[in-house]
Symmetry: C2
Subunit: 317 residues, 2 copies
């Protein structure tokens, strides 16, 4: 089958073997996939991944448990053992033996077909289009912030980063807090958020005053945390959403002195994200910048790395 | 007066001007002072401090509000404005305009006398000796951990660092959790903790298994956080106690992936520390490695940087 593979280099392969479907898994035909910053980190060596890239998608079940046949689906990306201490304590997203679709030990979705544990599937409601459903995974990651921080309506919240994830986080927080500010580098991206009623500031004009109750760091840059530390108030909370393949010089002493809480945040509740897409609570329509067919997936990857683009989609079927 | 001063270099000065006592302040004669790792960081440029060094002490009030005259005292090191947003919201330790004794904008205690706001003073109970009372400030910093993390008796807790602060944190946590481990580099220091009934491990034999519920990072080394990240379980908590003058390469992606919470922790409740010293709940007697007269305070500073020493005291009066 056709697939975009990373094996030290990004390669489009037309001869990639079709997925072997294990017990409990479904074979899913990918319809649309999305490119995430984590995919770009994978090409820099993140997680030492090798295989079919990609983890954001909407697809249709081809083979698998009868309840799922022909269903239009999205999926939890963490494939778990169900037996380790994490799984047994209800933290299966942190399974010790997990594989992660297109990120760790398991082929991803930039391909015609993908094998996925049936337990990971979520049916897409009819009201949600493919173009919306492909946002379910990153939108769930945005909702995860609201499961980790108890927001007060009166909180002053700053989201750093106007890219894919920052846009989604700001849309999720918009109705939860009265004082929300999205800080970014790109006028066109900030305008997208403004159109959703979100207050924005260009980073070169933003003056951090150590007075935000919560800062969500979604810049995708190791330098973002330094700005977050200057933006958050003493005893405030920084939510870290960015992951990197590389280390950079960082001094956390300001976090110690100001007794800041830094919370790492990753995957979130797909059912909540699908509900928000179905109800229109979160509008993702303006966020798609470019679309490419699977045969041009390598171009899609490059486009996702260009600062003027937000979400880049790959049309598979 | 005699004082140990840092002005880019560490200097013992015999001609340092006696403190000017402002309104609301007391003039305190220092009896015994303690050397903290933060003092060593100050000599590397931490906080850009210049002035009389030192912030751990026990002294006796010479002049000041009548209620305090002749009282034996220790003191909160953060001297606050009482008017800023932090002070008004009950977070006066994070006062925007604060000075910090011997660390930021205010002369410290490696001197014959020091001026301190009366509001910062705590009387030392008769049951607490000078040699114990000088531990009140760092012991309060150790207790701060228990105000920021809700420990469960069943928690597995690892304290990284067998130095001054790690020793105190382990002594504080000993009665709170059943599974406590102090990890350090120095056999003699680990033995001190063992004598207090604390389980210990040498760092070269310690295998991090990402299974500790809480890790307290008190190594005083920027590398300590990396070990903490490998020691804590997914969704666990790391308490950061170390502050540094310098940055180092650090990748927080593991904290994001494991959704770890990192909490900066600084000064704590002096009254709790004094109570624990008075009751014998925390035994600090074995932690004093060396004592020097004020005239040899520069030697005391050097001794505090030697790995075989735990607490180094400076006898002033």
């Amino acid at each position: 089958m056709l697939a975009l593979v990373f094996d030290g280099k990004v390669r489009l392969r037309s001869d990639y073997p079709a997925p072997k479907v294990a017990r409990g898994e479904a074979l899913v035909g990918v319809r649309v996939a999305g490119v995430c910053s984590t995919d770009l980190e994978v090409t820099k060596g993140y997680m030492g991944f090798s295989g079919v890239m990609g983890h954001e998608f909407v697809g249709q079940v081809i083979e698998g448990p009868s309840a799922w046949k022909q269903k239009r689906v999205v999926a939890e990306i963490n494939c778990v053992c169900g037996r380790c201490d994490m799984c047994r304590s209800g933290l299966s997203n942190h399974c010790r033996d997990r594989t992660v679709i297109g990120i760790a030990g398991r082929d991803g979705v930039f391909a015609e077909q993908v094998a996925i544990p049936a337990a990971n599937l979520h049916e897409v409601p009819p009201a949600v289009s493919d173009e919306q459903a492909v946002f379910a995974e990153p939108l769930a990651a945005a909702y995860q912030v609201t499961r980790q921080v108890k927001f007060q309506q009166s909180d002053a919240v700053v989201v750093l980063g106007d890219g894919r994830l920052g846009q989604l986080v700001a849309r999720v927080l918009r109705s939860l807090v009265r004082r929300l500010m999205l800080v970014g580098k790109h006028a066109a991206k900030l305008e997208m958020a403004e159109k959703q009623g979100i207050q924005t500031a260009a980073v070169e004009e933003f003056v951090p005053r150590a007075d935000a109750d919560v800062v969500v760091e979604a810049t995708g840059s190791p330098r973002g945390l330094e700005l977050a530390l200057r933006t958050v108030r003493p005893r405030g909370v920084i939510v870290l959403k960015s992951t990197f393949a590389t280390s950079e010089g960082l001094n956390l002493s300001p976090a110690v002195v100001a007794e800041v809480t830094v919370i790492g945040s990753r995957c979130g509740p797909l059912e909540v994200a699908l509900g928000a897409l179905a109800s229109g609570e979160v509008d993702v329509s303006a966020l798609v910048s470019r679309r490419y067919p699977l045969a041009r997936a390598a171009e899609a990857l490059r486009a996702a790395g260009e600062p003027e683009n937000v979400k880049v989609l790959i049309d598979v079927q």
